[in-house]
């Protein structure tokens, strides 16, 4: 019996242990679950030792201590994290934590603003008017949708939150269908408008310094609709990913495990 076949049997039995939960909670599932938690940590120990500590700390110090003596400082700071287990000097662990958290908050602040907020905001502000010769039609359709947005906001300000949002959405859909059928290039401009309006509305929904009433309430309502579309799409995407994993596990059980065993017995 080859080592691969032994491994396949172990993997198949563990897979069945986890699938047994579909019937009900049972000791086989609990065993596999506990093993998974342990093995995951064991995996990270191996990965951290091999990919982090070995190349960045141990090898540089062993091969050229003089040139890399400064690495003793992070090693000491890292070890200092463990003083938290000695109650009398547990407070010393704060030094390492302070440097670590401080550095990454600084990095995070720059990265979030420069790497996420600005590029995302830039990508949202796309041209609303197409190129010649359909510029006139595009302008007409975009103006129609934009006017509906303004009218919707006015209606929302009067207290009709949902109706205000519906005015914009329905007008936009009509304009988009017309563009799709007769002026394909205008469709891009309308999509850009939708993207821009969607981002602004979602941000307004998350803005809690103003009460969500009147025009703000209408925009917030539209923001919820965009969020629901986003969540629904993300949910559908996740389900498809999980089903794909399930198919993978079934393939493994049928082809690798049963098929592999039959092939091994058959010689």
């Amino acid at each position: 019996m080859s080592i691969e076949l032994i491994g396949t049997w172990i993997a198949a039995l563990l897979t069945l242990c986890l699938f047994s939960f579909l019937y009900k909670d049972n000791p086989f599932f609990r065993f596999a679950e506990a093993l998974f938690a342990g093995v995951s940590l064991g995996y990270y120990i191996g990965q951290t030792a091999n990919n982090t500590l070995k190349p960045n700390l141990v090898l540089p110090l062993v091969h050229d201590f003089r040139g890399n003596y400064d690495l003793v400082i992070p090693a000491l700071l890292g070890l200092n994290l463990y003083t938290r287990y000695i109650p009398r000097i547990a407070w010393m662990a704060r030094f390492s934590l302070a440097v670590y958290v401080g550095y990454y908050t600084g990095v995070n602040m720059v990265q979030k603003l420069q790497g996420e907020v600005l590029p995302q905001a830039g990508a949202t502000m796309m041209p609303l008017l197409g190129a010649f010769p359909i510029a006139g039609t595009t302008a007409l359709l975009v103006t129609l949708a934009a006017t509906a947005l303004v009218l919707g906001l006015i209606d929302s300000a009067r207290g009709h939150l949902t109706r205000g949002a519906v005015i914009f959405v329905s007008t936009w859909i009509v304009a988009r269908v017309v563009a799709q059928v007769a002026f394909p290039l205008a469709a891009d401009a309308l999509d850009n408008l939708l993207l821009f309006v969607g981002v602004i509305m979602v941000l307004i929904y998350f803005f809690f310094s103003l009460e969500h009433r009147g025009a703000v309430g209408g925009m917030s309502r539209l923001g919820i609709w965009f969020l629901m579309l986003g969540f629904g799409a993300a949910f559908g995407y996740t389900v498809m990913g999980r089903v794909s994993l399930l198919i993978g596990r079934m393939n493994f059980l049928i082809i690798d495990w049963i098929g592999g065993t039959v092939r091994a017995i058959g010689g």
Binding site: T15, G42, G46, L77, G78, G236, R242
Partner: protein, 232 residues
């Protein structure tokens, strides 16, 4: 008081300031760039120790559970076995101790002890655990998608369109319409690229602004809970 409170806060401030200041200078400004690059290397090492700290916590908690013979203590034994075996194989393999050489499969294709655990225990368990969610997601969907109001309906429609748009069944549903075979797939793509992008972008911008403001609070010492200190 200075050692226990003010010094850690000062260290946070200085460590946080270095990457922010370094961002505004070119590589020529060595006075700023060198400390930043060095600190970046150091942090990778400290992160390695921090991950091991989590392992120590888990080991401590489970040993305590076994000692007290708390509910499900037998499973804690399996958890520790699962942790110790690949963990020690990984450590020994990483540093080539004794017969252990590396953590990857050997040159002849045979698995190392660590890679055996990864291929035949860790990866199958991980994939199965996530695939189990396919079943539970269905019951969660039933609860979430019951058409109670307009918002739930939008959620339902978006999910159904995305799911159908990515499988052959979705294609065949509209195949009877001339040119309709790709209609659902095209609409799904549009949905993902436009309204979905707008929502994700709004969330991303909002979260990034929140994260940036929290970072500022940490650097300025207003937020101190990560050090186990109460806010003033």
């Amino acid at each position: 008081m200075f050692l226990r409170v003010q010094l850690p806060l000062l260290l946070t401030f200085l460590a946080g300031l270095i990457p922010i200041v370094a961002f505004f200078f070119t590589e020529k400004a060595r006075l700023v760039k060198v400390p930043n690059d060095r600190l970046e290397k150091w942090m990778i090492i400290i992160a390695g120790f921090a991950i091991m700290l989590g392992v120590v916590n888990v080991v401590q908690g489970n040993i305590r559970k076994i000692e007290r013979k708390g509910p499900g203590w037998h499973y804690a034994i399996f958890l520790l076995i699962g942790l110790v075996l690949p963990g020690s194989f990984g450590l020994l393999g990483a540093f080539n101790v004794g017969p252990f050489h590396g953590i990857s499969p050997h040159a002849d294709g045979s698995p190392s002890p660590f890679s055996f655990f990864v291929s035949y225990v860790f990866q199958p368990l991980q994939a199965t655990m996530f695939s189990l969610l396919a079943f539970y997601v269905a019951s969660a969907a039933f609860r979430a998608f019951r058409v109670r109001n307009l918002e739930a309906t939008i959620l339902l429609l978006a999910a159904v369109v995305v799911m159908l748009g990515r499988i052959p069944l979705g294609e065949s549903l509209f195949a009877w319409i001339p040119g309709g075979k790709l209609a659902l797939g095209t609409f799904t793509e549009w949905l993902m690229n436009n309204p979905n992008t707008a929502a994700q972008r709004g969330i991303m911008i909002g979260a990034a602004l929140g994260a940036a403001s929290l970072s500022l609070r940490v650097i300025l010492g207003i937020e101190r809970s990560y050090l186990g200190l109460e806010k003033d």
